[in-house]
Every structure is written in structure tokens, then in C-alpha cells.
């Protein structure tokens, strides 16, 4: 009871003593203070009493709880006894378990040692067995068996053998080890020697026999080297035989022009066949990843043999000499010695064929070796894979065959360029225009030649070679050939002075002027003038066909290249290069289009403008300041426009027949512009009455209707100003213009400036200039 009550007591007394100390009370002298303290103390007393009451209220519950606790007491003693007993049992079990497990551990160790002992005994037995076996096998010349024993010995754990030496039975093991080592050295020497002998005599079964034994003795490199040596010797004899055959072959044979390409093909196919046949053996006995080693040996022989073929080719075909002649004739332009391009044809074909075979072969090697490395490097690190990749790249890039072929192509390109240039020149000189044909023979000839040359380069399978030939082709088309077309156009279209005389419209002055300018052409007869005309028109057609042909050529080459290079690995880069070169052809095509435009403008200036101008100015002689009577007469007898239409029709008929539809259309469009421009100039020199304006409107309508019928271009735009002029000339009053002008213009867009509108209004004799001035436009 006390114990429970004491904290409560302390709790309540502690604040009482600390809030107001006895000393503080004693020291108080002031009444006010005393009263305040007293009141505080009274309040505290009430508080304490309230707490006391609560505590005494709890007394009965606490007593009941105490009784219950006293009743539990004896039970607790029972539990304590049980716990002690349990603890003793657990301790006992624990020590027992530890005892057992230590015994198991000992057993385990013993077992392991036992196994090691057995392994060692086995190894020693193996060693002994091997020692005996090797000796018997060697005695029986059973190299396979002996090698198998040595292989077993080599695959024994070296540390075990070392350990055995330190053991008690060292002398016995030492002896057999010594024997084995001796046997190993002997066997290696013997087998290597035998293999060498077999290689030397070309004894295939023996070669294969010992070739299979060497990897068992750990002599992979030697084995592959010897085997390669054997294969090389086979290759060499076969290649020499083929080359001899080639040299002695009949010149009239169908394949004679390609005999060196064929010989090279035989050589490369031979190697491919060797790989096909022997790769399985190598893989079985030497494991994957060894093909590279074998092929580095073989490639040396391949290089040597290919070199021989190429040398013979160069010698027999006079390749270098031809190249030098071509080179010098291209450098100096005119040369004493010149090769007929046709002579180069076969040799160019042969070279590209050789190149394509070599490319094919190198791709085959790459594919095979990569596949072999892939199998071997399945679990290898990235750096190993990369190193193998680099080795392979180096082998293919640095081999003599690659270099030799690249050299051949290096000579080929200038020769092919020469062939193209010369043949194109020839096509130009032999150019003929058949009657009834719009363009002349050279256009198609030139494109046939260019296509042939690039296609031949394409057969080489070498993307750089193709690109170079595309570049040269562009150069030939853009400079040489374009120059030919430009020169022809520069000769000009002869002005038709005689026609002018017939028509009797040209003034003497203009006739004199044009004859001065065209002195040369005028001295020619009518016939040659006609020829010059035809030549000019044909050239225009030629330029257009060329520009189209270039686009076609580009498209064809694109698909050809895509077809050829799509199967190759890493071809995206080659494809991008070729595409870039081909895209330059588009520029060439558009340059020709510009030339065509210039040529047409020239034609329009010389042949159309001088004729059309007087026809249009004859408008001046037809009065448009007319009354009813004249208007009706004009209605019956057209004074001007019908004749103009007939004249234009006649003028253009000649061109319509001689020009391709597209060019003719462009020319008509030029003519239409010219007519519009000249007519506008003329109008401003005339005067009009109201009916004259109406007359002009009618004339303009029939002219526009005619011109619309002869061209596919829209001409409304070209005649927009004239139509608006006609509208103005047709007005009743000056002020009527305001119905069409400014906010009232509706869908009409005025092409005339306000000043021009006034100018046109002034052409009407019946409009007063004050009214026109007063207009607010």
C-alpha cells in the first residue's frame, strides 16, 4: 500500500515545496505579497486534497490485484524447475551432435584423400601403360596408337606428375617419365619427318595420315603448315599446267580473248575446291578457328600463281604498252601513235572479268573464314573476336592478289575512259540524221557507248571502278559532248532573208542589217541554208533527247548497281558512293535543259521574231478609229487577224514537223509571249473609236482562241494585260472604268498600273483628256 502510494505522494508534494519555499514565505514582509502567497497556497491545498481523494478511491482495486498476485506465487516455482531440466537436455544434445559431425568431416577428408590416391595410382598406371604402349606402338610403327598414348600423357595433370616425383616411388615414375618424354620427342620428330616426306612425294594418304596425328602431339601449327605445303604444291602444278595450256591455246577459239581470265578463274576455283574438300578434316582434327591459319599459307601460293597469270596476261595482251599509248595520247591530245578504240574492247572485257573473279574469290574467303572464326569464338571475349576480325581484314586487304588486281584496274580505268571518249567522238563524226527522224544517230550512239562502258566497269564488281567510270562519263557528257551540241547551236539558225523578200514586208534597212550580220550564211545557197536550218532543229531535238537519256541512264544504272551490290556485305557504303556519283548525272541533265532553253530562245529570236514583228505592226495600217459602216465592212472582210493567224500557222508548221512535241510546245509558248508583247507595243501607237475598241476586242478574242488551240500551255496569263486593254477600249464612258476598278474589281486582278489605264483611255478619240485626268484611280 505504501509502495504504491509513495510515488503519488512524491509527485504531489514535489511541486508544493518547489513552488513556494518556506524561506520565501518567511522573507515576505509586504502584506500584498503575503496575501497573494496565501491565496496561492490555499489553491494548492485544494488541489492536493482533490488528488488525495482520487488516490484513496483506487485503494480497493489495488488490493484485489495484490491478492491475485499472491495466489500465482507457487506456480512460478514449478516453472523454474522445468526450465532448468530442459536446459540440461539441450546442452547434452548439442555436444552429441558436434561429436558426430566432426567424425563425418574426418570421413570426408579421408574419402577425398583416397580419391586423390586412386587418381594418382591411375595416373601412374596410365603413365606406365603409356610408356609401355608407346614403345610397343613405336616398335610396330603404329604411329596413331603411339600418338594417342602421348596425347594421353600430355593431357595428364602436370602437377600430379610433379607430385608423384616427390613421392616414395619416385624412381619408378621418373624412369617411365623419362621414357615417355624421350618417346614424345622421338615421335614428334619421326611423325614430322614422315609428314614432310609424304608432302615431298605428294603421297596424299600418308599426308592425311600424319596430318591427323600431329594435333595429338600438340603440333597444330606445324601440321597445318605442312598440309598447306602439300596443297600448295598440288595447286602450283595444276596452275602451271593450266597456264601452259592457256599459252598454247588456239587463238581462234571462242574463249581465246578471255583465256587469262579463264585461267585465273580456274586457279581461284581450284583453291575454293580445296577449301570445300579439306575444311571438314581440318575442323575435325584441329578444331574450329584453324581455317585462317591454313589459308594464310595457301594465299601465298595463290598470290604467286595469280601473279604469274597476270604477268603473262600483261605480256601477251601488251597491256602496259597499250596503257602507255593511251596515256600519252590523252595527255597531249594529238599523238603520233593512236590506238583504235575497238582494239581495246577485248582486253577491257578480260580485265573486268579477272577483277570480278578475284572479288568473288576474296568474298568467298571472307565468308568462310568469318564463319569458322564465329564457331571458334562463340565464348571468346570481344577483344579476341576483334583481333580475329582484324587479322582477316589484313589478310584480304594486303594479299598480293588484291594489289595486283587493283593495279590492273588502275590501268583499266584510263583505257576505258579513252575508249569512251574516242568512241563518242567517232559517233559524233559519223553522225547522220535520217529524213523523217527528229533526232540524229549520235544521240543514241553516244548513250549506248556510255552505258556500255559503265556496265563493263560494273561487271568488275569493284565499286570504286564503277564510280570512277561514272565520273568520267559525266565529264565526257558535260564537257566534250555538250561542247559538240553547243557548237552546233552556235552555228545559229539562218535568218530567212529570202522569205522576207517574198513576203515583201521587210524594209531595205533591216534586210541590209541582217545580211551584214549573217554575211557568211547568206553567201551560201538556199540549199545549204535549208541544211543549216535542219541541222539546228535536229540539234535542238538532240539536246532534249540527251537530257532525257541521261535521266534514263541514271535510273537504269541505279537499279543495276542496286542489284549487283545488294548481296554483298558492307555494301551500303559502296552503294552510297555510287548513288552520290550518279546524282551528278542529274546536274548534267539539267545543264542540257538550260542549253535547250537557250537554243529555243535563239530560234525564237532569229526565226520567229523578225517575221512576227512586221505582221503585228501591220495592225497600225488598219484604222480603228471607225464608224458603223467600216465596222460592218470589217465584219464581212476581216482586215487583219485572220491573215495573222494564217501567217503564224504557216510559220510554225515548219517547226511543228521538225521538232519533238515537247520542244515545239515550248517554242509555241515563246512565240505566244512574243505576239503578246509586240501587240501590246503596237496598240499604244493606235487610236480607237468606241467601235474600233469593239473591233479590237473581237480580233483579240479570235487570236487568243487560235493560240489556245495550238499550245498546251495556258496563254490566258500572257494575254491578261491585252485583255484588260481591250476591256478599257470597250468602255462607254470614261467613268465606267470605276465599275471595274479598285473595290469593284471583284475576281479581276489588274495587271495595268493606273498610269497605264489612263494611257489606254487616252487612245480613245472620243474620251476627253480632262475626264481622264479627273479620274481617281
Amino acid at each position: 500500500m505504501d509502495e504504491v502510494g509513495s510515488p503519488a505522494f512524491r509527485r504531489s508534494s514535489a511541486p508544493a515545496s518547489s513552488s513556494i519555499r518556506t524561506e520565501t514565505i518567511e522573507s515576505l514582509t509586504d502584506l500584498e505579497d503575503l496575501e497573494r502567497v496565501y491565496a496561492q497556497l490555499c489553491a494548492e491545498e485544494v488541489e492536493v486534497q482533490k488528488e488525495l481523494k482520487v488516490l484513496s478511491g483506487q485503494q480497493s482495486t489495488i488490493e484485489t490485484k495484490m491478492l491475485a498476485l499472491q495466489r500465482i506465487g507457487p506456480n512460478l516455482q514449478l516453472i523454474e524447475g522445468d526450465a532448468t531440466q530442459l536446459s540440461g537436455m539441450i546442452n547434452f544434445t548439442c555436444s552429441l551432435a558436434e561429436n558426430v559431425s566432426s567424425k563425418v568431416r574426418q570421413l570426408d577428408l579421408t574419402k577425398k584423400r583416397l580419391y586423390q590416391a586412386i587418381q594418382r595410382a591411375d595416373d601412374i598406371l596410365d603413365l606406365k601403360f603409356c610408356t609401355d604402349g608407346v614403345q610397343t606402338a613405336l616398335r610396330n610403327n603404329d604411329y596413331e596408337q603411339a600418338a594417342a598414348h602421348i596425347h594421353r600423357y600430355l593431357s595428364l595433370d602436370q602437377s600430379v606428375i610433379e607430385l608423384s616425383r616427390q613421392g616414395g616411388e619416385s624412381t619408378a615414375v621418373d624412369a617411365s617419365l623419362a621414357l615417355l618424354q624421350e618417346a614424345e620427342v622421338n615421335l614428334k620428330a619421326l611423325v614430322t619427318k614422315r609428314l614432310e616426306e609424304a608432302v615431298a612425294t605428294g603421297d596424299l594418304p600418308q599426308v592425311e595420315r600424319f596430318f591427323k596425328i600431329l594435333p595429338l602431339l600438340g603440333l597444330h601449327e606445324q601440321g597445318l603448315a605442312q598440309f598447306a605445303k602439300y596443297l600448295c604444291s598440288q595447286l602450283a602444278s595444276k596452275a602451271e599446267e593450266n597456264l601452259l595450256l592457256a599459252m598454247g591455246s588456239d587463238l581462234s577459239d571462242r574463249r581465246a580473248p578471255l583465256i587469262f581470265a579463264d585461267t585465273l578463274t580456274l586457279l581461284l576455283e581450284g583453291i575454293a575446291r580445296i577449301i570445300e574438300t579439306h575444311q571438314p578434316i581440318v575442323e575435325t582434327y584441329y578444331g574450329p578457328g584453324r581455317l585462317y591459319t591454313l589459308l594464310t599459307h595457301l594465299q601465298k601460293e595463290c598470290d604467286a600463281q595469280a601473279q604469274k597469270v597476270v604477268e603473262k596476261f600483261i605480256q601477251q595482251r601488251d597491256y602496259c604498252n597499250k596503257f602507255q599509248v593511251v596515256q600519252s595520247s590523252m595527255m597531249r591530245g594529238v599523238s603520233v601513235e593512236k590506238i583504235e578504240p575497238r582494239e581495246l574492247d577485248p582486253v577491257l572485257c578480260e580485265v573486268t572479268l579477272m577483277n570480278s573473279r578475284a572479288e568473288l574469290y576474296l568474298r568467298f574467303l571472307k565468308r568462310r573464314i568469318s564463319a569458322d572464326f564465329e564457331v571458334a569464338d562463340a565464348t571468346a571475349t570481344d577483344s579476341v573476336i576483334q583481333e580475329h576480325q582484324q587479322c582477316l581484314e589484313r589478310l584480304l586487304k594486303d594479299c598480293k592478289l588484291s594489289c595486283t588486281i587493283q593495279e590492273l584496274i588502275g590501268y583499266y580505268i584510263p583505257m576505258e575512259e579513252y575508249y569512251m571518249r574516242e568512241t563518242v567522238n567517232k559517233a559524233v563524226t559519223m553522225d547522220t540524221a535520217e529524213v523523217g527522224q527528229l533526232s540524229s544517230s549520235m544521240v543514241d550512239d553516244v548513250f549506248y557507248i556510255v552505258k556500255k562502258c559503265i556496265s563493263r566497269a560494273l561487271t568488275s564488281g569493284n565499286s570504286d571502278c564503277v564510280c570512277a567510270m561514272i565520273n568520267h562519263a559525266i565529264s565526257v557528257l558535260e564537257t566534250d559532248f555538250r561542247e559538240v551540241l553547243v557548237t552546233k547551236l552556235r552555228a545559229g539558225y539562218p535568218a530567212s532573208t529570202l522569205q522576207d523578200l517574198h513576203r515583201g514586208v521587210t524594209s531595205a534597212v533591216s534586210l541590209m542589217q541582217s545580211s551584214l550580220q549573217q554575211g557568211k550564211i547568206q553567201s551560201l545557197g538556199i540549199e545549204s541554208q535549208e541544211q543549216a536550218k535542219t541541222a539546228y532543229l535536229v540539234t535542238l531535238n538532240n539536246v532534249q533527247v540527251c537530257s532525257e537519256n541521261i535521266s534514263t541512264l541514271k535510273k537504269n544504272l541505279e537499279s543495276d548497281c542496286a542489284k549487283l551490290f545488294s548481296q554483298l556485305a558492307g555494301s551500303e557504303h559502296a552503294q552510297a558512293k555510287i548513288d552520290s556519283c550518279l546524282s551528278d548525272l542529274v546536274n548534267t541533265s539539267s545543264k542540257l535543259k538550260d542549253l535547250l532553253q537557250e537554243g529555243l530562245q535563239e530560234l525564237s529570236n532569229t526565226a520567229i521574231k523578225p517575221q512576227v514583228k512586221p505582221w503585228i505592226s501591220s495592225f497600225l495600217s488598219i484604222a480603228h478609229n471607225i464608224e458603223e459602216e467600216e465596222f460592218s465592212e470589217y465584219e464581212v472582210n476581216d482586215p487583219w487577224v485572220q491573215q495573222l493567224v494564217v501567217q503564224l500557222e504557216q510559220l510554225m508548221a515548219e517547226f511543228k514537223a521538225a521538232l519533238s512535241p515537247i520542244i515545239y510546245d515550248t517554242l509555241t509558248s515563246l512565240m505566244t509571249s512574243l505576239v503578246a508583247m509586240e501587240l501590246e507595243k503596237t496598240i499604244f501607237k493606235c487610236t480607237f473609236s468606241r467601235l474600233g475598241g469593239l473591233q479590237f476586242d473581237k480580233e483579240l478574242r479570235s487570236l487568243v482562241a487560235y493560240l489556245s488551240s495550238v499550245t498546251s500551255w495556258t496563254i490566258r496569263d500572257k494575254f491578261a494585260r491585252l485583255t484588260q486593254i481591250a476591256t478599257i477600249l470597250n468602255l462607254e464612258r470614261v467613268s465606267e472604268i470605276l465599275d471595274y476598278w479598285g473595290p469593284n474589281s471583284g475576281p479581276l486582278t489588274w495587271r495595268l498600273t493606273p498610269a497605264e489605264v489612263r494611257q489606254v483611255l487616252a487612245l480613245r478619240v472620243d474620251f476627253r483628256s480632262e475626264d481622264i485626268k479627273r479620274l481617281r484611280l
Partner: protein
Amino acid sequence: MEDYDYLFKIVLIGNAGVGKTCLVRRFTQGLFPPGQGATIGVDFMIKTVEIKGVKVKLQIWDTAGQERFRSITQSYYRSANALILTYDITCEDSFRCLPEWLREIEQYANNQVVTILVGNKIDLAEKREVHRQRAEEFAEAHSMLYLETSAKESDNVEKLFLDLACVLIREAKQNTLDNNESAPMPGEGKNINYLSCCNIN
């Protein structure tokens, strides 16, 4: 429409092993591949740069220096807007061959081509065999620009290509200006450049 204002072809030429491929790699990919093998034929890279808001697509043709590829590389001269003639400052031989290269340029390139002489490998300063002044004089005598670079340390590589692009833009602008001056009067059609000698009106 492709996304550039100008397209220029730049062709790198010079002896084998002077570092043409490394210059191109450094510029286009930011790499310096050690142990770079000899280039076979011609290599081709594209990089688009922006200079003062003008997008310039540079088509860079990296040619093989070895003699046997000469006839392939020569075919690229004619359409080139610029040639980068490269030599190795640590190799007197590569400098001595320059006149030969200039003869090639003379023979095959168009006459508006911009040529810049580049001395590469200045990171190997201690092995220098060709003095800067000598090269500068040579370049000036043949009216070429001159720059020394290090593809390894990336010195002046950006500058080389960007300067070149600037020069080419300037020339291209000059050309269009010239063309515009001779442009036809409106309504008269296009002027005749090739046929003007016999123009009759």
C-alpha cells in the same frame, strides 16, 4: 527538299600515310583510330555544318594515296569544289611530292577549285622535317591557303573544314551574284550565254 543550303564536294589528296583518313575521321566522327590501314580506292563521308545560320552539306571524298589507285582518285578532281592537298610535316618526301600533285590538279581539276595545303601531324613536333615557313612560301607561290593540323590532337581540324566551307560559300555567293547581273530583263527571256556571238535581233 533536302535540308541544306549548299552542297560542296571536298576531295583530300596527298601521299600515302600523311593522315588524310585520320583528318576526315577526326572531323566527321571525332575519332582518331590508331593503326589506321591504307585506304582502298576512295572513301566517302558526309557532314552537315552550320555557319552563321547557313546549312552546308560537306561531301568529303577521302582518296587512297597509293599510286595504284591514282586513276580512280583522278576521276574525282573535276567535280570537286575544294581540294585538300595534305603532306606530313615529319616527312620531307611527302612535301617534295607536292609539285607532282599540283600538276595533277592542273590537269584534272576545274579551274575554280579552291586548294588548301595542309601540313599534318604537328603533334610530332620533335620529328618535324618541313619548316612552317617553307611550306607557307610554297603555298603562297602556288596561291593556295595553308594550315597545319594534328588529327591526333584535333588541332585545327575543325578550322580546316569550316574555313574551307566559308571560302566556298563566299565563292558560291559571288557566282550567283555574277549570274544575276547578267540575268535577263523581265519579259525578254533568258540571256544566251553560249550563243551570244551570233545573236540577231
